[in-house]
């Protein structure tokens, strides 16, 4: 869309110009919460109600997590409205989360009148300075005439290159002020901004040579593949090269879970083989991932034997944590086909057998009992296993943070891309319920299942109000172990079972849901699990299923903090 929306100048208010811009940018859903300093925008929204669907959340944090969920499933930019002061500061957690997980967002905050800036006016905070470290870009608008250009820049910056959150703070006078609106031109160039580095073919060549010489090559991929819409290109590369490939938590689902070359998850609670064999491979091909410390463990003992090829769109990620032998800077949608072209088809039977042997050991030591427990109490793993049978791997799985997150990410089948919505980098408890709301708006035709712990659910459970009011058809599974399980696991393993403040009491979640008009059930018997999951999936509208699981179960394997990935523990 490059044409201007309006041919001849008309007089519009800043608020109208903003909403006009959102429509031209293809925005269909906004998550937000009104307040004094953003009232002119909400007033204008009243007239745009037929074209812009606004979801009233219960807390701005819920609004921004919903925007993130929407962006993750739809691949579009999530849009969030909040008022000044506390409204804006309530966005911070979501901004930080979106920044570290590269989620495209445009957040619009109201601000006090320009003449009051810096006077400690009612509900005034210095939002620009507060949000600078957690936004890809931010800008304060004090004059309505700036709005079309600034919003165009905001969308371009949020979604191009390595995506990220953008915040635009608009003073109240600029929202009200009328100006000569000459139409809206989407932005596709900013002088100082290079969203993607130019691909250098000689590096592709060098990378291909390394790969073709390799005896034990290993691919590790991250969310970059999904953000770059390069799933097909990635699959083609993996399949032609025949190289085993493992994923980071945010890369999950870029190729299906059951793809024969998909060897599992990396990192602290990842699979045994991918972690151990990272320290055995000869060429490590990292694609759209950033060598997070949860993936690498101890850096000085990470893949020291390997020559590293790093494909990334963000030059700042190259050599940041792991020194690369060949950096391939660029958009992996461009670089992967170039690489695929040059790599040789190979059968690496012996190397694949190593992964299989580690899988066998992991199944025996961990997976079998987690998925098929014989004790009276249910495990988180068996809930996911039963769920897989019902969803056939086609649902969007939204997880919160903690043990259930690791279990869900390890065991949930994901056949489609953009199926995994979780807070990876920031590890934000309270993320899943609002993110699931947004995820449903981003993928309305798909089943959206939020899997949440009893701790995280209580951080944002007020968003059940949003589910009720906006009739959001999401299924919520609370895996209740009556503990802040992940912290408890660490305390058990590393703090001599000194369970300091992890014993959390919860309300009757089913009754809470009922108070919001949401159906639900709580089960603690294995016999009830399958029928309850079925009832949940078949019920119309939102549903909450609470599953009481074993209290002191641990997520294994585990790379203890400060250890090398090859020191991963099976128990």
């Amino acid at each position: 869309m490059t044409e201007k929306s309006v041919k001849s100048p008309v007089e519009l208010s800043g608020s109208q110009a903003l909403l006009d811009a959102l429509i031209i940018e293809g925005v269909d859903t906004i998550f937000g919460y009104p307040g004094g300093a953003i009232m002119p925008i909400y007033d204008a929204l009243y007239d745009y109600n037929d074209r812009l669907n606004h979801i009233l959340v219960r807390h701005e944090q819920g609004g921004i997590h919903a925007g993130q969920g929407y962006a993750r499933t739809s691949g579009k930019v999530g849009v969030v409205f909040a008022t000044s002061g506390p409204g804006a500061t309530n966005l911070i957690t979501g901004l930080a989360d979106a920044q570290i997980d590269s989620t495209p967002l445009v957040c619009i905050t109201g601000q006090v009148f320009a003449h009051l800036l810096g006077t400690d006016a009612f509900q005034e905070t210095d939002v620009i300075n507060i949000t600078t470290p957690v936004t890809k870009w931010n800008y304060q608008v004090t004059d309505a005439s700036e709005i079309p250009e600034v919003i165009a820049k905001a969308f371009y910056i949020a979604k191009s290159g390595r995506p990220g959150p953008v915040l635009i703070d608009i003073t109240k006078n600029a929202q009200i002020q009328k100006f000569n609106y000459e139409g809206y031109t989407p932005c596709n160039h900013i002088r100082s901004y290079r969203p993607k580095p130019i691909v250098r073919p000689q590096y592709i060549q060098q990378a291909a040579e390394l790969i073709n010489q390799a005896k034990k090559p290993f691919i590790i991929w991250g969310q970059g593949v999904i953000l770059g819409s390069a799933e097909q290109e990635f699959k083609a590369f993996v399949e032609k090269s025949g190289i085993p490939a493992a994923w980071t938590i945010l890369g999950a689902g870029a190729i299906p879970t059951d793809h024969p070359l998909n060897v599992g998850m990396l990192g602290m609670h990842g699979n045994y083989g991918p972690n151990v064999l990272t320290n055995e491979c000869d060429v490590l091909i990292a694609i759209g991932m950033r060598f997070d410390d949860r993936v690498t463990g101890r850096l000085d003992k990470y893949a020291k034997q390997a020559r590293v090829i790093h494909l990334d769109i963000d030059p700042a990620e190259i050599d940041k944590n792991v020194k690369s032998t060949v950096p391939v800077w660029g958009d992996c949608k461009e670089t992967l086909p170039m690489l695929t072209e040059l790599v040789e088809r190979k059968v690496l039977t012996e190397w694949h057998d190593k992964f299989k042997e580690f899988t066998r050991q992991e199944v025996e030591a961990v997976i079998h009992d987690e998925l098929n427990p014989t004790s009276d109490e249910m495990t988180m793993g068996e809930v996911i296993k039963q769920l897989n049978e019902l969803t056939k791997g086609d649902a969007v799985i939204v997880t919160d943070v903690g043990q259930h997150q690791m279990v869900a990410c390890r065991y949930a089948n994901l056949n489609k891309t953009r199926s995994n919505v979780t807070s990876g980098g920031l590890g934000t408890m309270g993320f899943a319920l609002p993110a699931a709301i947004g995820a449903k708006f981003g993928a309305q035709e798909r089943d959206v299942i939020a899997i949440i712990g009893d701790g995280g659910f209580q951080m944002t459970l007020q968003e059940l109000g949003t589910v009720m009011q906006s009739k959001v058809d999401i299924k919520i599974i609370i895996l209740n172990n009556r503990f802040l399980g992940m912290v408890r696991q660490w305390q058990e393993l590393f703090n001599e079972r000194r369970y300091s403040f992890v014993d959390i009491q919860s309300p009757d979640f089913v009754a809470v849901a009922a108070a919001y008009g949401i159906g639900g059930k709580c089960i603690s018997d294995r016999a009830d699990l399958q029928p309850a999951l079925k009832e949940m999936m078949e019920s119309k509208g939102a549903y909450l299923l609470e599953v009481m699981v074993t209290k002191e179960n641990n997520v294994f394997p585990m790379v203890p903090q400060g250890c090398s990935v090859s020191e991963i523990r099976l128990k």
Binding site: N129, R191, P315, A316, P327, W329
Partner: protein, 196 residues
């Protein structure tokens, strides 16, 4: 890797708040900025930062990449002191009476490459430019004679490499970058020039 002084040159848009964005990159890693100068460049609307820090090259390279990642930053380079010509400006305010009575002003000016900027009845202001030790030298000379006030500027540095960056800047000035805008070209040139 051994720490040494590095001169970081940043070309940016003239944008409110950008100084903060750049400063945060240092404070986040708890790195002290020894010297910071910002001024308009030779191209209208493009500003130039000179930042001096003492760090290892590895850290400096990462910092530069983080700075260049900012939307409104056009280009970042880093250089060792050996790669740049640099100057600091210092002003010294002293009592005119004392200085006229007790010091041979002429000798003082000659020996220190200083010049009098202002001579008033009550005070005189001298100026020198040079490296830190040079401007420090005059402080120690004037201190016994009642130095009233002293101020020193941040460092400004110009890169020895004869090419310079003017042509590249001109290139950036063009609205649409052509295919010939080369990225990454200095990647393998080690510490000589850094650029993405």
């Amino acid at each position: 890797m051994e720490k040494q002084e590095f001169n970081i040159t940043v070309y940016t848009e003239n944008q409110i708040g950008l100084l903060n964005r750049i400063a945060i990159i240092f404070t986040r890693r708890k790195i002290n900025i020894d010297s910071l100068n910002t001024s308009p460049s030779e191209i209208e609307s493009i500003h130039r930062f000179n930042i001096v820090i003492t760090e290892s090259e590895d850290v400096v390279r990462k910092l530069c990449r983080q700075i260049e990642k900012q939307v409104e930053v056009l280009k970042v380079y880093y250089h060792t002191n050996a790669d740049v010509i640099w100057q600091e400006l210092a002003l010294y305010k002293v009592s005119t009476d004392v200085i006229a009575e007790k010091v041979s002003v002429e000798r003082l000016l000659r020996e220190n490459g200083a010049r009098a900027v202002v001579i008033r009845k009550d005070y005189t202001v001298f100026e020198t430019t040079g490296h830190r030790e040079e401007t420090d030298n005059l402080i120690s000379i004037l201190q016994p004679y009642g130095l009233i006030e002293f101020v020193r500027s941040a460092r400004v540095a110009i890169i020895k490499d004869s090419e310079g960056f003017n042509s590249k800047l001109r290139e950036f000035e063009r609205l649409e970058p052509g295919e010939d805008v080369i990225e990454n070209e200095y990647l393998n040139q080690g510490q000589k020039v850094f650029s993405m």
